[in-house]
Symmetry: C2
């Protein structure tokens, strides 16, 4: 089935949103926690967290044009310079999903969505207690994407908190062991099952594949 | 278990790579296809494709500093202005993984990895025939991330080709029905099972959650 550029443009707005939001494949499910002196804590789900580099350890995520949704997350990061990234697992998927509702300024998504804010190691932004993997981030840089006025927020990892048994002997996080979920589009949640692990790909070790 | 910034820095290089590459959660598995007049076609796996916006339909992906790996992908996109993004499913996961080997310039990853290049609708970059979801992209913009000299390559969707039965009545792609995989870290592959679908989150419809 072919969906041309023209038919994407002519599609109903909601159908286009659903299709394009889901077209990249599976996306990670993370809760971003922030704090504001005036309005208190904030937590919101994001499916756009991306690895940028390991040394220094840098992660990015995408924010829609400011003034729209997730304005609080952006304002709080710029105010304090710190935020947290917390994995979503099966048990908290529904609660996490509802953090995307447009709550009033000052209303706590933590309370309304039944999640618990947690402060660890003098880190100034709130972690999500229920998450198994929690990452403390320091704001580093923002880049503007001119094509549609979105921003990538870039931060450096300061802390990682995770269950010891979720890390294998090579340092990999076994996402299935901590019941991590992925997001498809805007509202489909998927569980994960590990099916394979392949070695680092060296040219001289490529198997004799055929089409 | 706490992994502080200091212990990340002091970690063995490979262990740090594995941990930080896997710390964001599940990542999408996509093959990016390009073409160069001089060297022919190229295909390489990427786990950093990210949705940027639906109208216009924009996707981004992360490229390590040029001069390192995936140099061909970058050069070809800048030469021709076009590229393709193709989903990886269970049957082609191993072949797709090996496209990350550093093949010689002019050596075709398609041939060496047993994947088939396909040209559709006069699109100048090669699609991956075996993929169920194929996206034709036009280069739009690149942004430099100064913190570690990586780039985000931004493109506009021109074409989407997908099986009709993979799209549900709302326009969502059902990733489980096309056996899409996700990547954890650098070399763990996961299959997906849909566990839930939640409605668009409105404040007045948030269930009465408790911690």
């Amino acid at each position: 089935m072919r969906v041309s550029r023209k038919s994407i443009e002519e599609m109903h707005r909601v159908r286009r949103l659903n299709l394009i939001n889901g077209i990249t494949g599976i996306k990670p499910a993370n809760l971003i926690g922030t704090y504001s002196k005036q309005y208190g804590s904030n937590v919101s789900i994001f499916s756009s967290v991306v690895h940028l580099g390991s040394n220094p350890p840098l992660l990015g995520f995408i924010l829609r044009p400011t003034g729209e949704i997730n304005r609080n997350t952006y304002d709080n990061i710029r105010e304090t310079g710190y935020y947290t990234i917390n994995h979503v697992h099966e048990t908290i998927a529904e609660k996490s999903h509802y953090t995307s509702a447009k709550f009033d300024h000052g209303e706590s998504e933590f309370e309304r969505c039944g999640l618990t804010e947690e402060y660890l190691y003098d880190f100034s932004a709130p972690f999500v207690q229920e998450s198994y993997v929690k990452i403390g981030m320091k704001f580093k840089e923002e880049v503007l994407i001119e094509a549609n006025d979105t921003r990538m927020i870039i931060g450096e990892i300061q802390e990682i908190i995770l269950p010891e048994e979720s890390m294998d002997d090579k340092g990999y996080v076994r996402l299935d062991k901590i019941f991590d979920v992925g997001i498809g589009g805007l509202n489909n949640y998927y569980s994960l099952k590990r099916i394979a692990s392949y070695p680092y790909a060296r040219v001289e070790e490529v198997p004799p594949f055929r089409n």
